[in-house]
């Protein structure tokens, strides 16, 4: 199973628990989660359904390449982490 976890900083804004699922791409994994939890989508994706510019997604410790359509492939047991890029403030 693929495990998807979200930065704990999201928790105070929107429900975003870890999730286990089966998917072949990051897009597929996230869309499954957003279908169940639509409010979460707007925190991760922008109006054009791209990854928000200060959100980072790692697959097994490697930053994804396709921030626009999230087509990066997953392995059957990949660990997907949705994190926030650091910024000031």
């Amino acid at each position: 199973m693929i495990t998807v976890t979200f930065t704990p900083n999201l928790q105070r804004h929107v429900l975003s628990p870890p999730r286990e699922l089966q998917a072949d791409t990051v897009a597929n994994a996230l869309h499954q989660i957003f279908a169940e939890n639509p409010a979460l989508a707007g925190y991760i994706l922008d109006d054009q359904h791209r990854l928000r510019k200060n959100i980072a997604v790692f697959i097994d410790g490697t930053l994804i390449q396709d921030r626009n359509t999230l087509s990066d492939s997953l392995q059957p047991s990949s660990d997907v982490q949705v994190l926030q890029a650091l910024s000031g403030g």
């Binding site: 900083n9 409010a39 109006d47 200060n54």
Partner: protein
């Protein structure tokens, strides 16, 4: 009595209520730690709204419905998805106003980039006003301060809800007389010294920092422009520049009296790269004669050097016309109960202030 002023800051929404003359009580603080860029209380319903910018997690809109203190996330204005994936995304809710009394549920929002959005269900859902977004002139809009242009002032005519006037930094002044179906550029007479001389009066090149209308006489509008102070008496079609104002014609904020269109307030600063009070003396200027003369108001404002800047939405007047409030980027908040003759500092320790609004 019991007027409430809402203070949207970089670190939350603060609220002060007037409990007696000269007495202001701080009440609930919400969204502590989150940037609040816009606030609105709908006088038709009592519903309250707050626009947030979570940075990493994007822009959100929350509402506390009348009679409740519980804030809930509602629909957020968003640009339609375009096929090539290179379309815009809302980066800031920069203006939020109600529609007319004959349009229950209608709200208007202005954003960066320069989208105008309308809701007809009390903010639960929004749609882009495509007629404005598709105007060819929009290609000439440009950012002023922010990288992208934005709509920061929306004036809905209180006697004719279909007449809507906008001010855009930088894109000048626009008007619709049919509820947003079509738009025309107005703003003749606005002058942009920052443009090449041949384009100084080009209406689309203007940077009106803030535009407000007199509620009782809505064809009378004031603009605090990047280039100075301007006044219109014909609904924003033609503007007169007011140049003889001490200590400065530069600033961001303007407030107009709700029933006296000749009376308006400004908070002047040094232009362009400085953006601090002239001679480090924070003052408010007031005209009561349509800009022919101005008074400099100082009672209760800092005597020591001050470096406060007042953003465009951070000066407001209540619907009675006596209470004024303004807040600064250094987290100071002042109120006046006598149209600016005297000021009282309510806090010196708030986060940087984005927006100050009374309940109407």
């Amino acid at each position: 009595m019991n007027e409430t002023v809402h203070i949207g800051t970089r670190k939350g929404l603060f609220q002060f209520t007037r409990t007696a003359p000269g007495q202001w009580q701080r009440n609930e603080t919400v969204f502590l730690g989150d940037p609040v860029t816009m606030v609105l209380t709908d006088p038709r319903t009592g519903d309250r709204y707050a626009g947030l910018n979570h940075g990493h997690f994007g822009v959100k809109l929350h509402a506390a419905r009348a009679g409740t203190s519980e804030w809930k996330e509602i629909g957020t204005p968003a640009f339609p998805k375009v096929e090539d994936g290179d379309g815009p995304t809302v980066e800031l809710i920069w203006e939020l106003v109600t529609g007319g009394d004959d349009e229950p549920g209608t709200l208007w929002a202005g954003t960066i980039p320069g989208g105008l959005f309308k809701s007809t269900d009390n903010g639960e859902s929004w749609r882009l006003i495509d007629a404005l977004w598709q105007k060819p002139e929009r290609e000439k809009w440009f950012g002023g301060g922010y990288d992208k242009p934005g709509i920061h002032s929306i004036c809905v005519h209180p006697h004719d809800s279909n007449t809507i006037r906008l001010a855009i930094s930088c894109g000048g002044v626009w008007e619709s007389t049919n509820g947003g179906e079509t738009w025309q550029q107005t703003g003749q007479g606005l002058r942009a010294a920052f443009m090449p001389p041949e384009l100084a009066y080009d209406p689309v090149s203007q940077d009106p920092h803030r535009m407000v209308q007199c509620a009782a006489s809505p064809d009378h509008l004031w603009i605090q422009h990047h280039n100075g102070i301007f006044r219109s008496e014909d609904g924003g079609h033609n503007w007169t520049e007011i140049t003889d104002v001490s200590p400065s014609v530069f600033g961001f904020a303007v407030a107009v009296h709700p029933t006296q269109p000749d009376t308006a307030w400004f908070v002047p600063a040094i232009k362009d790269e400085h953006r601090i009070p002239v001679d480090a003396q924070l003052v408010v200027t007031r005209t009561r004669d349509g800009g022919k003369t101005f008074e400099t108001l100082t009672r209760g404002l800092p005597e020591e050097p001050a470096y406060d800047l007042i953003y465009r939405h951070s000066l407001d007047i209540d619907d009675g016309g006596d209470l004024l409030a303004f807040g600064s980027t250094t987290g100071n908040l002042w109120v006046s109960e006598d149209q600016g003759d005297h000021w009282q500092c309510l806090s010196k320790h708030l986060p940087p202030i984005n927006v100050v609004r009374f309940d109407l």
